[in-house]
Amino acid sequence: MARAAVLGRLSWLVARLADIRDETATARTLILEVPGWPGHLPGQHIDVRLTAEDGYSTQRSYSIASAPAGSRLELTIQLLDDGEVSPYLAQVLSRGDPLELRGPVGGYFVWHPADPAPVLLIGGGSGVVPLMAMVRTRIASGSQAPMRLIYSTRSRDTLLYAAELERIAAGGSGLSVDVVYTRSAPPGTGGRTGRLDGDRLAALAGPQDAGVACFVCGPTGFVESIADLLTSRGMDPRQVRTERFGPSGGN
């Protein structure tokens, strides 16, 4: 059912980088203070605009990583080798620097914390970011909706939110986390590697509830293959919401 979507025009806000949290050798989370932030729902994204001194400017979209928390926003930036914006956000932007952004954007790929339906989240690479916002919001809101996160990543070196996911996985209370390592698995995880295929997905996702809300996010190829696996196992396509980051997962 469509929700109310009549809103004001978006305008650019100037945020300040308040703090930084390193996630991996090539990814970090930016903790931003955004005066005038109207709040957001997990799954939404923001657009960032960078402007050079000669007036050249470029924009990119980034999923919000954090649960709603007043005027504070977190973005997790993965450094891409041939990126134009990610090197600046992942390496150059410093505490106290301004960052122009607008948002929140997106009414389709969102999870409402008041929704009691069970939730299945499947993320590939940096596709886990908006799903992490959903996980964090579930915890912060006290929602008891059963929620399961399946996160596919290359290795322990590329795993985002490692410590937090370990704590959540140990915590139970209707929230479960499974990490699928596609290239090399850390010791103690059974050493199993390989892409998230139909069998592995079936084993991890468990029985398909008729009412489960499924969110799939990541590079286009990953999302296409997971969405196909889900629907070929009988899931109604309308239960599956997808967000594709493009061929490489962003820049």
Partner: protein, 88 residues
């Protein structure tokens, strides 16, 4: 080689600059093949002179948009209608 398209979610910000509504969550009917779906499910070709959102079924443009300095042009002929939820 994968084509350079993302889904309609990525157009949310640009469309919000023009409309006071989140069009990505709106439902539309393709004027080409009659498929209905949310605009977020369309294929957004945003690396071009303008933006083209194509029907995931038949590939025809649902909407096209060009942003010029101080004005934006929109072609919505590819949508027979758009349904946007309103409060109340």
């Amino acid at each position: 080689m994968t084509d350079m398209w993302t889904d309609g979610n990525s157009l949310g910000g640009q469309l919000r600059e023009v409309f006071c509504a989140d069009l990505t969550a709106a439902t539309g009917r393709c004027a080409g093949c009659g498929r209905t779906g949310q605009l977020a499910e369309g294929r957004a070709f945003d690396h071009a002179a303008g933006v083209v959102l194509r029907c995931p079924g038949c590939g025809q443009p649902l909407l096209r948009m060009v942003r010029g300095p101080g004005r934006t042009w929109l072609d919505l002929r590819g949508l027979e209608y758009i349904e946007i939820a309103s409060p109340g």
